[in-house]
């Protein structure tokens, strides 16, 4: 399964961001930075993805969505939080509707700072995530499922989350 390290597929989701980091994530796919030459493909389907790129300081309505996308991804999986907002809430950390960073909703493996994070930094973050992905793949291959599940366990639901009736 080492093709996963050579050619991970990414899924990107905007978790209440201003869009700056999202367009820089998309800029990574375009000819100047071109991560597709490494075999990295942007997919829209969480079940096909290895790496989850999240941007934005997540707001109350977005928490269940981010958690659902994360839960749909098969093991092994890595989460890369792109941007200052995803790391800690950024300039919006004291807004009433913001939970303060992606790691309050799902476990994060790599943080990429910047506002907006530059494509070079995002690619660097993805490459660092590959090492984590490889370590998790080894755990899976050795059958250490409990250890893997503990690493990837969802944190408790933040208190400000707005959960729709059918997701409660």
């Amino acid at each position: 399964m080492s093709f996963m390290k050579k050619s991970p597929w990414v899924i990107h989701y905007d978790g209440s961001s201003c869009n700056g980091c999202d367009i820089e994530v998309l800029a990574c796919l375009t000819p100047l930075y071109d991560i597709e030459r490494f075999g990295i493909v942007n997919t829209g389907n969480p079940k096909h993805a290895d790496i989850f790129l999240v941007t934005g300081a997540v707001n109350a309505q977005n928490v269940p969505v981010v958690r659902q996308i994360y839960s749909q991804m098969p093991e092994p999986k890595v989460v890369v939080a792109v941007g200052a907002c995803a790391a800690s809430g950024g300039v919006f950390h004291d807004c009433y509707n913001i939970i303060g960073g992606v790691d309050k909703a799902i476990p994060v493996d790599v943080y990429v700072p910047g506002c907006a994070a530059r494509p070079q930094a995002i690619i660097d973050g993805v490459v660092q995530g590959l090492a984590v992905l490889e370590a998790k793949r080894k755990l899976l291959a050795e059958g250490k499922l409990e250890e893997l599940e503990q690493k990837d366990q969802l944190p408790p639901l933040p208190p400000q989350t707005h959960v729709k009736e059918d997701q409660a």
Binding site: A60, Q61, Y96, N97, I99, Q160, T161, H162
Partner: protein, 125 residues
């Protein structure tokens, strides 16, 4: 460029005056621009803005806390975006929003209800 053309509607003449003024503006060909709500010590200050030939005309009045206002979606349907937002963020009751665009308080699903309802702390006023 700004037009500070503000028409203030007196308290005793709402809601009929608001709808009358908005209807006049509609027949004169004004385009709806926005509705702004500001929390003031007396209650909520509402400003409705309309535009024709790049000149703004604004209607202004103040509502007491708990007082409601009639929706203008019967005349300008796109106002539902601003009206639902004001209802959800400030808690101002807006009556008779057109069928199909009344989100009943669920336009924004927030962590806390009506976060802008109370006066700001820390003496910003």
């Amino acid at each position: 460029m700004s037009s500070q053309d503000l028409v203030t509607i007196k308290p005793e003449n709402r809601p009929t005056d608001l709808l009358q003024e908005v209807e006049n503006l509609k027949f004169q060909g004004y385009r709806f621009v926005q509705i702004c709500c500001t929390r003031v010590p007396e209650g909520f200050e509402l400003t409705y803005s309309f535009d024709k030939n790049y000149e703004l005309k604004n209607l202004r009045f103040t509502l007491a806390d708990g007082e409601g206002i009639t929706s203008i979606t019967s005349l300008y349907l796109p106002a539902f975006v601003c009206e639902n937002e004001i209802h959800d963020l400030f808690g101002v009751p807006i009556n008779h929003i057109a069928k199909g665009v009344d989100f009943g308080g669920k336009f924004f699903r927030l962590a806390e209800k009506t976060p802008w309802h109370d006066l700001p702390k820390g003496g910003a006023h």
